[in-house]
Amino acid sequence: MTRDGNEGPTIGAALTRFLGFAALWGVLIRSGQPGDLAVGALTAAAATWASLRLLPPATGQVRFAVLAARSPRFLWQSILAGIDVARRALAPRMPLAAGFVAYRTGLPRGQARNTFATITSVLPGTVPVADDDTGMVYHCLDTGQPVTAQLAADERAYGKALVPGRAHG
């Protein structure tokens, strides 16, 4: 899973992804009918092809087992994020101190940083709006909060699940 190379998509990565998409289809459709299974197999094959084109294995890996182990932290932060934004939206004086915060990250550009950006976009008060070679820019609801310290803690927590690869356009 952590193989890194520039030889293009490997058979192993394609098979793993196909099985993952097929399992997803199986959970969503829950049918053993031959016609449904055929459509599911075709859909999983198409999804595998698209994912190998858009996210080649060499651009980085996500360790889903490590990510799953972080799910209690993620769920708790999702709850805090929802409560935080609901409180600000419903308060008569609407306490907002919105602005941009730059964050220097150790994650190189590519799939690892993109996945980190996706995770942090669900966390309290932050939405990633830009990134360059040195770091990322977040839009924050309250720039008075210790945003960079929180993001650094999140990078330590989720970083082990993100294996960097080469940058991909």
Binding site: G82, A86, A89
Partner: protein, 96 residues
Amino acid sequence: MNLADLFTVAAVCAGAFFFLAGSVGLLRFPDALTRLHALTKADNLGLGLVVLGLLPRVDGVLGGLKLVVIWLLALLASAAASQLIARAVKRSEPGA
């Protein structure tokens, strides 16, 4: 009404509250970027609570798994879409 029914009613009502709060934020917040926070974060929690409330009513583990997967897919879609919109807004209004 048994305990499972009460749990369902409480969790789904809590979910509806966060959808309402997200919509209020969409209307009240001053610009596109702050509105993104309201929609993604409040709605994700709202949908999560609705799913949580429906879990005791499903037929078996696979039914529950399907609901959780739907929540995760909605979460992934809203996280990806909010980033794309945020980056587009930042590019078109650098000082926003």
